[in-house]
Subunit: 320 residues, 4 copies
């Protein structure tokens, strides 16, 4: 292991810079050279890279986003793209490539591994937390806390105007973010794509709350539900309450990473470098039952991470 | 002056509670009794009120929203509604009524003043800052800072993905919030309803920035512009950049008031009580040229507050 | 299980209110009555209690501190005090008592269990994280994040003035908080009571950093080290750098709990109620290897939680 | 006016970077070259400077501290130092020098003006707000808000433990920061160096509050009082309350500038460049009665800014 490369790919997540810093410093400490490809897979296609050393990653630990930039890259999904990327790795004598990103990045790393001898390691970083093989991704804790702070502000208006607010959070097709946000924000109702919901039951809950004197409610909805505004109209038509919609949007992606997102970045990076120094590749690093682990990229890509449905029922009992 | 009443009306703004606290404590200090009408003008129509004293307003200084609740009330806009409200004031022996709210609340106070002998004082509180007679409203500084923090987060993603972001802020039909947010956030472009804008000039600016190596831009748009999404599409079609839209929405209304919003609340409240103790009513309290002042409700309602257009040109020079 | 009581004891921690809310609502859901003793053990001694139901714990999820108040109570440490507390429990027909607090609270619960048949459950809540039987206490994650935000601010001044800052964080006699804060803040040096430190090595590190062009450093010190100011003087005398001390102090105790502190509060509460409904007592609830577990109070009190020393060495390699 | 220089001096304040950015961009816009001297006056003594242009000040608007660094410089206070600084200005053909800093920086600029033809402009930036000639300094609003957030956290513990907290804020020998923080935080008592205080009156107030059922109090003390810990002991001895001390310290200096601190930085910078382009120097820029103004450096240095004592009495009435 003489030289490793780092690339950040897909949507940015808070803590990506912490991971870049940790990977660079731990590799350098072990006498391994480090380069970074810029703008995601696109940088591999066009050999767009920069040298990284301890000074280059100074002062980035607390920054959101990624200093390596990122992008979504269609060309990389085709065979020609993968071959071109493999060539870049060979040209630069890269022994190990660490890909920091979400579900799609792991898939990309897995696909690329068939065209190159460079060892691939995927570090899960995503605000969606939808990566199989890890209970938590880098950036997830930050996004949950950001959403919490926003909902606290929205509750001021909800209570003052005695309104129902539907707050849509990110999460792509999954409900990890919505579930954790809803549970910790004390949302009266939580809707996730993994569980079918019944409009009548929602109306019922809101009516019961009103009867108990609870004159404002927060409904946290995962974007994957895909009909936030329609739902708002339906509720307004069926329940005697004003409904407002707030789509949190891109603010959930940014911001300084929380301690936990930074900690995961550090621990995942340590594991990644350890694996590479041991000559092990094609793994996705993760945390499982409180321990830093790794599984094969193959396994990570073939499975779908289950949502903890029990937490939904806990949330329901807590919102009474 | 034996008894005053407080009402919060229209959209909630951070610092309304600080004003309620200050009014209550300063009145009590001077031996004046205080009651609060609940849910805005509606509370006056239905004689929905509560006693307020020093203990009742304890621990609310830092809370967003309004403990008196608020609403928008159609009935109050008609003669019958105003007469009913005047009756409630008479029934409760209210000598002075302090209305905390925005532009519409001042109009309401002015209209009501024709039907009652109760002295009316309007305390401008609004995140829109669109009240004539005061350079700044209670809550405006908080909303500006909230938007700043959000834009900081959005910039992480904008830079990492090298995208253009259009951030829509509140302000109803006016551009006060957008201008101050845009200037202090370092937005590359600011669009306000008061100034006609030229799409071609926007494209030009973005192309020039790209040529200079500035690969991400923030455009702050007032909601009053009314075509944020259309603009995004047009830019994407005409400039070689990915565009994303973020509508900050209700988070701008909530949150703990900043020091400045609290300070204004305290100083406006002091002035209001001073006026009432002097037997003066039908005034809107404000800050002008750094001093706490008041103008007649009549004057406040007949004029439109001008936007400081010079600041737009300053912002343009600063964004180079 | 017909009636349970809740008490918060020792130093307050963010998330205590979330735990009170969750315990109350989950118990109520299962048809169990809930009361709360006020001001810690003192409330048990003087039968100072209040009824708790779903409405009583509404709107407290996001609040720091504890609505039940807390105190340190000397009398409770003596036999007479414990007997008196046991009597109060009997008098109120309390079947289960949940004690929310740190190390000392667990000890108190254990001692009290010898004098009463009421089932005891300890819920670990402490910013110090020094409770055996759980990897993390309620409030710890919040305190770490609070300290991070503070250090971010201090770094502005450290860099601008090219100074060395010693930041003292809480943690009583242990280094859990200092270690996690130091690691995630990117501190150049971390000092914890569990590891002997060598002044010469500190001077050496600072001199090396200066030689590399790093002109400002942050040293995170656990309060348990007990000689922060002396250390500052020694460094200033031995290394060519200005040193400033910042003792974060009580701000670390307060603030709205983070998502993680709230989540732990919810999950610990669920476990506590489950245990009590099963007729099991004298347990300390915790999280171990990512799972919610419980151990006997006896075991919790007899053992000392070890600090993960490997993380110190990781921090060192990351600070290069 | 072909070339201007910028220097930041004395203690750092949030918004200094915003001022550097605005000065650089506005000067560049007008075709004026810009350089920055590093590490305060020391940079002038040792001709330690860097070129500044629009790109060099990109991405710094929201950062605390100063990218030009700062220092306190003894040599500069002597005649030889001032002559050396004047030589550096001549050597670099600097037509105008903008000094960003507090009271001491204005004095330095005034002293230097006697040795050089370079036009001097002082931009007041200080968290202490103790500069004559401006109602508000860059950074003051940020420091007030930072202290507010801290006190909010401390209040959680104060209330939970029913304690009295003495919170010491910065401000050097003046009480501007303490007064504004105390007033907007709702402190029960505020102590500033400008007003003699009576220990007995403090005890009396605390006893009265206790009698009214207010079991926790916050006392905000300016560091200029100089006996915070002694006061704590005295109170504990004379009033039946536990007292804790929290010294906010350096966190008040750092952090991202608030909207208002950024706005002042922009407006002050605009005025400074306007003055220089008009060939006017030896002025201190400020805000007075809501307008951007300037006074002579001479006048600024000879006068002492008065504290608004009326606000203390307002705070007292509000804390009942």
């Amino acid at each position: 292991m003489k030289k490793i490369a780092i690339v950040t790919s897909g949507g940015d997540a808070p803590g990506m810079n912490a991971a870049i810093r940790a990977l660079t410093r731990l590799a350098t400490w072990s006498g391994v050279e480090v380069i970074g490809f810029q703008r995601g897979w696109e940088g591999l296609l066009h050999n767009n890279c920069m040298k990284l050393d301890s000074r280059a990653v100074s002062g980035i630990l607390h920054l959101g986003g990624t200093i390596l930039r990122t992008s979504r890259c269609e060309e990389f999904k085709r065979r020609a793209g993968l071959e071109k990327a493999a060539e870049t790795l060979a040209k630069n004598d890269v022994d190990g490539l660490v890909v920091i990103g979400g579900d799609g990045s792991a898939r990309g790393a897995n696909a690329l591994s068939r065209y190159t001898d460079t060892l691939m390691i995927a570090l899960p970083a995503s605000i969606d937390n939808d990566v199989y093989g890890t209970e938590e991704t880098i950036g997830f804790d930050t996004a949950v806390n950001t959403a919490l702070v926003e909902i606290n502000k929205i509750r001021d208006t909800a209570v003052s105007h005695e309104r129902t607010f539907i707050v849509e959070v990110m999460g792509r097709k999954r409900g990890f973010l919505a579930l954790e946000v809803g549970l910790t924000a004390g949302a009266e109702i939580i809707l996730v794509p993994e569980v079918k919901y019944d409009r009548e039951k929602i109306y019922e809950t809101l009516r019961k709350n009103a009867a108990k004197g609870k004159r404002s409610s927060i409904i946290v909805v995962a974007e994957g539900i895909g009909e936030t505004r329609k739902l708002a109209e339906d509720i307004e038509r069926n329940v005697n309450t004003e409904v407002r919609v707030s789509i949190l949007g891109y603010v959930q992606r940014g911001g300084s990473p929380t301690a936990r997102s930074r900690l995961l970045a550090n621990l995942f990076a340590e594991k990644a470098i350890d694996l590479l120094l041991d000559g092990i590749g094609n793994r996705l690093v993760g945390i499982q039952r409180g321990e830093i682990t790794s599984i094969s990229l193959e396994e990570a890509c073939e499975n779908q991470k289950p949502l903890n449905i029990d937490m939904l029922s806990l949330a329901e009992r807590l919102a009474t």
